[in-house]
């Protein structure tokens, strides 16, 4: 499992970055949510997006997954521009996994079926192989005994872990996590975060929108503070949390500390 050792952002200068976002603009009607976001994520890097609700974290992730059409800018995954016209959107999405706040498991399918649907139908894996691979992943995340259960029989934490496994089953180059613990009961948050920690150790490239500052400090190589549709400040977690430069970042972190979340 540890064959992909985290090598840090600086060692992969030769290969194109895992994700490159340049001048990304996105608005919903008159509401300009993203106002020129630039972000580069190296291979095996874990980037956490922080910022107050409505600052554009989720929209940014949804744009990277091509779930939202963008107004301007470019998004490149491993050097390939996914926002170019004429790109096979379905093929691009297979390389980018996303896990949602509200799990979004398919309620009419068993856990195994949830996990194998895309490998079989989108990637064309034979059923037996897809199920073997899925079972292996479920075992790795302690869900093997749930493979035949339906989502509504699982706890929130288990559902979210299944959603992570479902995204991993497509062997994505990049995993996007959109506030994946925000809908969970507090006592279930740890089991999900531990899964992410393990993925980070395994070298998975991840962009994580989160309100869990302790977790961000723990797992991120880099933390980006999003404010009013731009990345206002970014840096190593130690610097960001202890010596933020921008007044807005300081304000935000003070509020977080006051709420007992850091």
């Amino acid at each position: 499992m540890n064959e992909l050792v985290a090598s840090g952002p600086e060692s992969s200068t030769a290969a194109p970055p895992a994700l490159e976002i340049a001048g990304l603009w996105k608005s919903f009607g008159d509401l300009h949510v993203l106002r020129g976001v630039d972000l580069t994520v190296a291979e095996h890097e874990v980037v956490c997006l922080i910022g107050s609700s409505g600052c554009g974290k989720s929209t940014l992730l949804r744009c990277v997954n091509l779930l939202e059409p963008i107004d301007a800018g470019r998004i490149l995954v491993k050097g390939k521009e996914i926002t170019a016209s004429g790109v096979d959107v379905n093929r691009m999405r297979r390389r980018i996994g996303i896990v949602f706040q509200s799990f979004n498991l398919f309620p009419h399918m068993s856990v195994l079926h949830n996990v194998t649907l895309a490998p079989r139908k989108a990637a064309g894996k034979p059923k037996a192989r897809a199920e073997a691979d899925a079972t292996e992943l479920l075992e790795r995340f302690g869900l093997a005994d749930k493979r035949n259960e339906y989502p509504d029989r699982l706890s929130g934490g288990q559902q979210q872990r299944v959603a992570i496994v479902r995204a991993l089953a497509m062997a994505p180059d990049l995993l996007l996590l959109d506030e994946i613990t925000s809908a969970l009961d507090p006592e279930l948050v740890a089991e999900v975060l531990n899964v992410i920690r393990e993925l980070a150790r395994g070298g998975m490239t991840m962009v994580i929108a989160t309100h869990e500052m302790g977790f961000a400090r723990d797992v991120a190589n880099r933390v980006c503070f999003l404010d009013e549709g731009v990345i206002l400040e970014q840096g190593a977690p130690a610097d960001m949390f202890s010596r933020p430069r921008e007044a807005r970042t300081q304000q935000f972190l003070e509020r977080i500390i006051a709420a007992g979340r850091l």
């Binding site: 779930l67 999405r93 979004n104 398919f106 649907l117 139908k121 989108a122 995204a167």
Partner: protein
Amino acid sequence: MRGWGFGGPLDSGDLILRSGGRPPVRPRFDQSALRSTLVALLSTVVFFAFVGFVVVNAPGWSAVQESFFNGKVWQESVPDVVPAFLTNVQLFCIAEVLILILALAIAVLRSLPGAVLFPVRLMTTIYVDFFRAVPGVLIIYILGFGIPGLGIAGVPTDPFFYAVVALTLVYSAYVSEVYRAGIQSVHPSQEAAARSLGLSQFQALRYVVLPQAIRRVIPPLLNDFIGLQKDTVLVSYIGVVEVFRQAQIDEAASFNFTPYVVVALVFLVMTIPLARFTDWLVARDRRRFLANAR
């Protein structure tokens, strides 16, 4: 018992919501439950006894009894009318299958996004509007007499064929709306999740949206099929000899309306089990919903 109570299921729903999913445990043979059963039974008996009394003592009762409940005519018409009902059964079995397919296609086409597909949405919308607006019996007339009347070689002349076509066209308009409501009831995040995994729009619809949508609309679909069963008598207008037409023939021979009563009973026997089944499905879904909404 619950079926009788005006707000039976609602009451228990309130109870569940208020007490956090655990209604107070009741003894199995509750005194008050027994009493309300007895009251319901008694009021039913009294009510129908009263209605029966009024009808039987009406000044024209003997004439009505002779025309509608004539034992002799009954015996003669049952062997005619009941086999004729087989035609209705055939008709709605064939039409039901065609309706399920055509209506689904219409609903899906009408739900497709994108500016390019506007003509498709427009056409399906016109179809649905048209066939819901024009009375079914007129469609049956126009198709059943009009198309064979054109005299084009190779066009079928069998009225049964046009009966199936007309009922399919009319009911597909209604049923496609039922499907569409189902499709719209599936939260967009389900499609987003499917698309995010790399499934195409068609695959997301086929594997994720439609299975959930169809499950939700089974009760209203069955409801429409109860309507379809009854509307099979409309095709008697274009000369298909089915149960109602047969009853008309018998009535013309006997100058007596009893054959119609036979038809009514045949439909009751056929429809009530389906209606109860539909109710049972609705109640089951409701229980599931309440169980999941903890």
